[in-house]
Amino acid sequence: MKELLLGNAAVARGAYEAGVRYVSSYPGTPSTEITERISGYPESEVYCEWAPNEKVAAESAIGASIAGARAMTCCKHVGLNVMADPIFTASYTGVNGGLVICVADDPGMHSSQNEQDSRHYARAAKMPALEPSDSEECLEFTKLAFDLSEQYDVPVMLRLTTRVAHSQSLAETAERLDKPLLPYEKDMRKYVMMPANAIRRHTVVEERTSRLEEAAERLSCNVIEDNHSKIGVICSGINYCYAKEAFEDGVNYLKLGLVWPVSPKLITRFASICETVYVLEELDPFIESICRSYGVSVHGKDIFPMTGEYSSAMLKERILHESADVLQPEEDLPPRPPALCPGCPHRGVFHVLKKMKLTVSGDIGCYTLGALPPLSALDTTICMGASISAAHGMAKVRGDEWKGKLVSVIGDSTFMHSGITGLSDIVYNRGANTVIILDNSTTGMTGHQDNPLTGKTIRGHATRQADLEILCKGIGIDRVTVVDPFDLNALEAALKKELTVDEPSVIIAQRPCALLKTVIHRGHCTVGDNCIRCGKCLTIGCPAISRHDGITEIDETLCNGCGLCAQVCPVNAIRKEDEQ
């Protein structure tokens, strides 16, 4: 039956149909829904979990594969960096049950801190990479990935991009394949990667790559469409869809389903039927440089950008020099970047940090939005966990000059992901930083997933909840304070105190995310007649508060009555509706 499926849902379906038994991931846009969808399949058929980070997720999937199960881990591109260590060596050990590493890149950076091209990892780790164009292929290629993995004894990368992961199209679903566990045999020459064994395995890896390159010529996922045109395009993933939309059957296509390794014979054969060949690929000239290395001359980044996304309009314009009539607004429009939600518990923290004029080492999550005006509270955001470790480096080089003026801000899920080691570094190396853990009981930005601090698994089972206070104390933080971020005075007092002490400290700002279903909102706030129009309430950056013709208003459809604005109003003009 054909169903309208999100690309990510189709990957989940493909894995399910391929008989996957183990999926472990850490959430990351645009990959999150794959693992979420997996959790919709029966527990008796597939085990799935949120791991504390991608490295742990990948290692556990590697273990499941060695133990004989078909296994998968899913991540966003920057998550692949975190799991790089285990997968480079898993490429040497190879697999037992099929192992698929699904990575979703984010060209255009809809929800990411960089725009890296994960295909480089496939080549660097010497694992084949498949790239689907739509949901149908997401489903088919996921199954193919498991088959190739077992056939060539190699982990297989499935590379998606945002537009494939987050587009819905029709896909044919089928029954699940019954894949019992494969027998496990102890084999230290294959699975114990000490030098003597790894030296032998490296030769196996190189031979395997040659065989894959050879096979790529005939793989059914690599297709030549000869439309008897002088123009040929080599493309994969979403760019095939853009090209089809732009050119239909007016050009020849080499559609690569396997984007690494690439068959030299296939490239030369395709080039021989075209006069001009274009390589259509977002981000880096990956296929383009492979073509050149095979002695085939192609156009690519000489006419297309290295940054951002492509579109069919861009292909039409740059290859056919055609463009549509486009209407333009008469003026520059005010941009609408995302903002912390009304009632967000992070807002109070950033309000206080800004007021105290602190240097704030930030991290990855909803709270990265604290960098934007009017809060403008963050100084840095690099990667998961860097808020703590980067602040350690800052404190060491700036010494007394920055003493009492520097703070780290990290979310609960991010802290469990990779904040703990940074904190341990501070304690071990006699630092005295203050770290605020924004404990909102969820992984907010990616759409509210559970984590080791929430007491629930991905399937909603109750589980032992990690205790942040004891955890911090255990690694040597003696000063741990818990405050409610809605209590601005208490928060400021706690910060003032902790910033002056000569030892490391942690402030846990505890209050659940405003969007959690368990959080019940009562009423909303309104602005009374005694408003003196000072504009203080507008500085907290709540989307529900606005000012028209000097009059401050609260939009009752957006406000959830958190009361933060009332705390900053100097004349108590803001009241909760039900109090008036």
Binding site: L4, L6, T29, P30, T32, E33, H110, S111, D134, R163, H166, S167, Q168, S169, L170, I238, C241, Y242, K244, E245, E248, S311, S312, A313, S323, A324, D325, V326, L327, Q328, P329, E330, E331, L333, P334, P335, R336, P337, P338, A339, L340, C341, C366, L369, L372, P373, P374, M445, T446, G447, L538, T539, G541, P543, I545, S546, R547, D555, T557, L558
Partner: protein, 194 residues
């Protein structure tokens, strides 16, 4: 069937995703090929969001190019204006809610909300509804998406029964009745503010 391109724009959190799923399902029930491109992640936190819905006998790309949208369903007026470059310049139509939500730059006073948006877009290109009010009257402010779908339904080739069927199947069961009356309110709105 001829290909129809519908852009759905609004502010993250307004329910644009649900509207695209209802439309996608309705188009599918008519035997079309359908592609929908959604936005997840950061911009859902109150940023500008765009969802693309395309249907016809064969749809290649899930995205809509500038100048190629047959319809734009806009949940917010500034977002309608921002999406103008996507509209088919000669034959496209915008169906917009008159709701205004100030972006942060306007709230903080560093930018101002454009005046006379309807005039600037061109009144003949736009159908304007007080969708928020109609949604409230239908019983829930959150049913704005159904109001806009109702207003769009009048222009689309998709039969009325298919719309109500698709809507009933897509929205959460306990909100079904409210959404159906919101859809009717949008469909019946004979005197839109334009």
């Amino acid at each position: 069937m001829k290909q129809t391109n519908v852009l759905i724009v609004g502010v993250g959190g307004q329910g644009t995703l649900l509207a695209s799923r209802v439309l996608g399902r309705a188009a599918l029930m008519c035997g079309n090929d359908v592609k929908i491109s959604e936005v997840h992640g950061m911009s859902q936190r109150g940023g500008s969001v765009i969802t693309y819905v395309k249907y016809g006998s064969k749809v290649y790309s899930p995205l809509i190019d500038p100048g190629c949208a047959d319809y734009i369903l806009a949940f917010e007026l500034l977002e309608a204006y921002r999406a103008l470059p996507y509209l088919n310049a000669s034959a496209g139509r915008i169906i917009a809610s008159s709701q205004r939500i100030d972006p942060m730059s306007v709230i903080t006073g560093s930018a101002s909300y454009p005046d006379d948006i309807v005039q600037k877009i061109g009144p003949s290109r736009i159908t304007l509804l007080n969708a928020l009010d109609l949604a409230k009257k239908a019983g829930n402010v959150k049913s704005v998406n159904s109001v806009l779908l109702g207003a769009f339904a009048k222009h689309s080739e998709i039969p009325f029964e298919i719309w109500t069927e698709a809507l009933s199947q897509t929205v959460p069961q306990k909100t079904k009745d409210v959404n159906l009356s919101a859809f009717m309110a949008g469909f019946m709105e004979s005197n839109p503010i334009s």
